[in-house]
Symmetry: C2
Subunit: 276 residues, 2 copies
């Protein structure tokens, strides 16, 4: 692809379920001139507990679907899919592709003062060691401590984001994060977790800086688009497309549970079901 | 240049005077595996009040010097030089080149909630409208208000960073920033200003988020290096090179005045005088 061509084509966003909507939301907020084509694999989510080869296969299927839509860039808005599929896809594609792990790692490196960073995520993401690798590739002297929090995603999808129950679950999980007393930065290494940010902050205390991969990924997408001369030049409001592989009503229901205050995201967008 | 080649070559850093050391410091902190070759044009600083063609010429001279050192990337660690020279240099060079304006703009866009952003900088930077263009290119609906603060750089170079005198100068200048009551984000659009950050924050109040282009540029340099497969693979501590065009003793004196607490930056580095 010649750089600078097709800057007004859409950005493809890959999500395993609905967590990646936090990334899509930030992309729309930070890059309002861009058009988004989002695919949520709600039929087969969550990816977190699945084996690597399955996550790779599912992600590749969504990439193929998006490539037919003539997109200019892909954002993998799921930590598990990033951990298992990003490196191979980078080699195969001739358009830029960005995951959520490296932007989060970079923001944590900017934020930390004592070089002690915690990362929480799904089992898949944590056991893949993708964050540890991304962080240590840039600074091998960092102390990185990680924890899988499998109870967070089901809770978020039930819409339990704050209150006593949420605090109890978060507090019990984070007790197991080694060296939690000494870290100064905690990366939310799952796209669902920004929805629990207030509760997590309350549990860990205000002295620990929380990094949301979702916000950081949107910001880095902006930098990568600019580097490739692909920032949209049109200033009209774009119509986004949201596709899901599962039941549409279920998606809308979870969406409304999770994004109570941000319903305007879907306004003026096309929403449809897709078979991959 | 073939991507992935020469990842262990140095990053060239261009500074008009000593302000860019705030960027060099962040590059060393956030990218400790990288080697830096810094050039500070202390003989001809400040660039702020100079005409565009002169700033372009001086910057190009430093670029030529750095290219002979076989660098892999250039960071223009000066807002004025970025405003006047970046676009042309981008077209001419076959290695990545990054200025301080776009990273700061992008961080401001991530930070703002009410889409009202203030930018302060030198006369050159502010009158060039470079920040307004960078911000509006990404989101044309932003309200951007700017102010040149020509009294800040001389004050910083005298080592006056905090206290009554600093507060008086900052307060008198910022009074002239239109809509200061409504902005929620203020970009420090000059590499000297992060040294005044505490004073500026005290004057404007804690409700306004301050964005330091220096920190953000180091972070974006990391993303661009990774995108081009140019992140250093070695994990040894690198020896940096600092070149200045003016008097070496003067540089060390200003350096020590300004970086009281960060003297270790220069430890183990080569420091020399250069004629461009």
């Amino acid at each position: 692809m010649k750089e600078g061509d097709g800057m007004n084509r859409a950005i493809g966003v890959i999500d395993s379920g609905v967590g990646g909507l936090t990334v899509a939301y930030e992309l729309m907020r930070q890059l309002p001139n861009e058009q988004m084509i989002y695919v949520g694999d709600t039929l087969r989510c969550p990816y977190g507990p699945r084996p690597a080869h399955e996550v790779k296969q599912f992600t590749t299927e969504i990439v193929r679907f998006l490539l037919k839509k003539d997109i200019k860039m892909i954002v993998i808005a799921c930590n598990t899919a990033t951990a298992f599929a990003l490196e191979d896809l980078k080699k195969e594609l001739d358009i830029p592709i960005l995951g959520v792990i490296q932007p989060g790692a970079r923001a944590a490196i900017k934020s930390t003062i004592n070089n002690k960073i915690g990362v929480i995520g799904t089992e898949g993401t944590i056991y893949s060691q993708a964050y540890v690798k991304a962080l240590k590739q840039i600074n091998y002297e960092l102390m990185v401590t990680t924890l899988a929090c499998p109870s967070f995603v089901p809770m978020v999808e039930k819409g339990i984001l704050e209150g006593k129950q949420a605090e109890k679950v978060v507090s019990q999980s984070l007790k197991q994060l080694k060296h939690i007393q000494s870290i100064d930065t905690l990366v939310l290494g799952c796209t669902h977790y920004p929805l629990l940010e207030k509760t997590i902050q309350r549990v860990i205390g205000s002295h620990i800086q929380i990094i949301s991969s979702s916000e950081e990924t949107a910001r880095e997408a902006s930098a990568i688009l600019q580097e490739h001369h692909l920032l949209a030049q049109n200033t009209r409001k774009n119509e986004h497309c949201f596709y899901v592989t599962g039941n549409l009503q279920d998606f809308m229901k979870i969406y409304q549970t999770v994004f109570k205050e941000n319903l305007e995201v879907l306004n003026g967008s096309t929403i449809g079901k897709v078979n991959l």
